[in-house]
Subunit: 216 residues, 2 copies
């Protein structure tokens, strides 16, 4: 109902929504019915005013002096994130990282369904990875078209990443989650998330330094 | 020199520093000597005013009408992030994800040195993972103490994650990067980064929806 407004929500707020969703989900499981903005903000590690600002992007959820209804807010944030849908995914690159992601338990639970795994290595093609047989990369484009795949995950070496992305784009994929340590390019209609694992370590490095590591 | 100021930099700015560092590194490799805030902002996918605001947190780097000196800014951001140090890391959990991280090429390049890998599974203990022999989890605490390990990466199943974190904390680890799909608790002097892989998919879900997926 508020989609045009939602598209203008700052990325930094969008990136917090899954965390709200997780904490509210925990409260739902513990049968908590309502929560104050202060309590939820403490769980999140942000200020109560930040929390109220965040949620105001999506309409009025809270009530003065009452707080938030946990279950209602949980489902509403799920709706905003788009979790009422199921999404189909493929993984290209069946090495350790591809296998780790294929086995990650929380994706299917959130409606992200793995439909296929691809690799170029003939020794891997035909092996089974949980419910999926590893397919030859030659089958990638027709598979995306036939199965109307939404999301492509790239876990190949960096030299191959742009080629894989190009094939995905040509076949009409909607989003790419790239784990290869290189920034790939895609046209603007495809949503791209480049995952740079070393970036997270650099944030840790900054924090260790800020925590007084330098003075040790 | 500006450490007290740097500790108050918003987390959202800190999280962009590795990206600045990567793009500036590319320019250094291409022997580009200076760059305008507009050009660098375009590479980053942010506005030029956002970029100037970000970098102002750390002092005055640019010059009106000249732009930024690429190499100077690159090294300065590296210094701010704390990359003049080397950091020692261990991985606990030698499954697919632990193996993928142990083999990730960009960590050592940034000064994050893997010193040990641990697992509870006797079938894995003693096997080699690149330069590391997988050790029994019993050896974890003395190893952290002896080798003065900075960063512990947790890639065990979620049921075991808090116990592993507790052992790391007792042995004096400085930071934990947790890949188990559960929020673990650590005391405030330990910097904790919980990695929730499904959160990234939820951001992708939101974007697919905002890109008009709902109306298809």
């Amino acid at each position: 109902m508020r989609d045009t407004k939602e598209t203008r929500v700052p990325m930094v707020v969008i990136k917090r929504l899954p965390k709200y969703y997780r904490y509210l989900g925990e409260l739902v499981e513990r049968k908590v019915e309502r929560v104050s903005s202060q309590t939820l903000a403490n769980m999140m590690g942000i200020s109560a005013s930040q929390l109220r600002q965040d949620l105001n992007h999506f309409g009025e959820f809270g009530q003065q002096g009452y707080g938030y209804r946990v279950e209602g807010l949980y489902h509403e944030i799920g709706r905003i994130i788009g979790l009422e849908h199921e999404y189909s995914m493929i993984i290209v690159g069946a090495g350790n990282l591809g296998q780790a992601l294929a086995n990650y338990p929380n994706f299917a639970k959130r409606g992200f369904l793995l439909k296929g795994v691809f690799d170029i290595n003939p020794k891997l093609v035909g092996l089974r990875l949980r419910d999926n047989e590893i397919m030859d990369i030659d089958k990638l484009k027709p598979f995306i078209v036939d199965k109307n795949i939404d999301i492509g995950i790239i876990t190949v070496p960096k030299e191959a990443a742009q080629d894989v992305a190009d094939s995905m784009v040509e076949a009409g994929i909607r989003a790419i989650w790239n784990y290869a340590p290189v920034d790939i390019k895609v046209p603007p209609q495809v949503f791209l998330e480049n995952e740079h694992l070393a970036d997270r370590l650099m944030v840790i490095s900054f924090r260790l330094k800020a925590l007084g590591y330098d003075e040790d």
